[in-house]
Amino acid sequence: MTAVLDTDGLGKRYRRRWALTDCTLKIPAGRVVGLVGPNGAGKSTLLNLAVGLITPTCGRIDVLGTLPARGSAELGRVGFVAQDTPTYSGLSVADHLRMGARLNPGWDRQFAEDRIAQLGLDPAQRAGKLSGGERAQLALTVAVAKRPELLVLDEPVARLDPLARREFLQSLMEVVADQGVSVVLSSHLVADLERVCDHLIILVASRVRLTGDVDQLLATHHLLTGPRRDTDRLPADLHVVQESHTDRQSTLLVRTEAPILDPAWTVGQISLEDLVLAYMSQARAGASNNGHRRLTGVPR
């Protein structure tokens, strides 16, 4: 099956600053991919490259097997909701649907009208008068009604209240169940991502720190606690992501394909949120350590 997103050594530079460096990814179709990382890590840059709004400085990017936004056919295969779910505040809800129908050859009018009715939106209402949650739902409707194979969402729920956020994600998951569309969405809200995503990309300081299927990531990361131990004397296939020591005890977050057999360790599971935070803080520690990389075994 063609990967929805396939990049190799992808990089983007704005003047002298690299917003994205050496990004190599292969995301299979049918996934809901969560893209996480601190502000300024390069999340929006990666998403904007994927939808063809900007062009790479170096490297290669293929979306659904071709160059992003190469022509109108490619544009129709990708739906995009930019940061803060923008709509045209002067246009009515119905205007948005009319515009969508004009601009997209594969427009599903029935779907769009049904969804607007289901959401209880007044077609005559101007988008500027809608609540944040309603605006986000309208933007999602327009992006989905073009029947894309890939849906790209840049922090779609960041500004929504908890109820509107939950409703938005419910709608999104219904679309995924119904149409089998692949999704890439960025968010700071790891608890949300834990519910909806089955694949994860952690981006820190313009680099991909971790990527993989969530189940696989959780199964290969373990929290070990035991008597104090020097991490240099651990088995070679054990990659230490994070470590802390007291005078008696060591606590390690490790990544390994092999089972932990050493009886000295108490083996615990780690939540997705803790996993994300560990990789994010690891990168920060690495950066403040005068470039000395404490990262070991960063998987690609």
């Binding site: 419910q170 998951m173 219904e174 169940a177 119904d178 519910r195």
Partner: protein, 130 residues
């Protein structure tokens, strides 16, 4: 039809929680043979979770021989976990309640009662095996 709920603090993965909730409903007689499980779209629309999570849960229930998917229609219960002992639950529960009351009167706090119960339960289970 039953409705699922997620306990995000339980530490159990969501698919496991769905499997457990179906099994519990089967055991309690809330679900019986021929009943339909909620569709994947209904579940994800309600819980805002990934559809693959629901599919994984339903597949595991199918492997356990408890449900069968009918393509284009839905997933249906094909077995029950309810056993004949259900009738005995009432009297046993009453006896347990009396025992709990006795334990409290003897000055045991909740934690001690639970510990004693678990410990005795485990010991008796081990005896049965031996």
């Amino acid at each position: 039809m039953i409705e699922f709920h997620l306990d995000t603090r339980s530490g159990l993965p969501p698919y496991r929680q769905i499997v457990d909730q179906v099994r519990r409903a089967l055991r309690l007689g809330l679900l019986e043979e021929g009943d339909q499980l909620p569709t994947v779209k209904d579940v994800v629309g309600q819980l805002a979770i990934n559809p693959n999570t629901v599919l994984k849960a339903y597949k595991e229930l199918e492997h356990a021989g408890l449900v069968t998917p009918r393509p284009g229609v839905g997933t249906f219960v094909t077995a029950t976990l309810r056993d004949a002992s259900v009738a005995a639950h009432g009297p046993l529960r009453r006896e347990l309640l009396r025992w709990f009351a006795k334990a409290r009167r003897a000055g045991l706090d909740e934690e001690s009662i639970e510990a004693l119960f678990r410990d005795t339960f485990r010991a008796s289970a081990e005896q049965d095996i031996a």
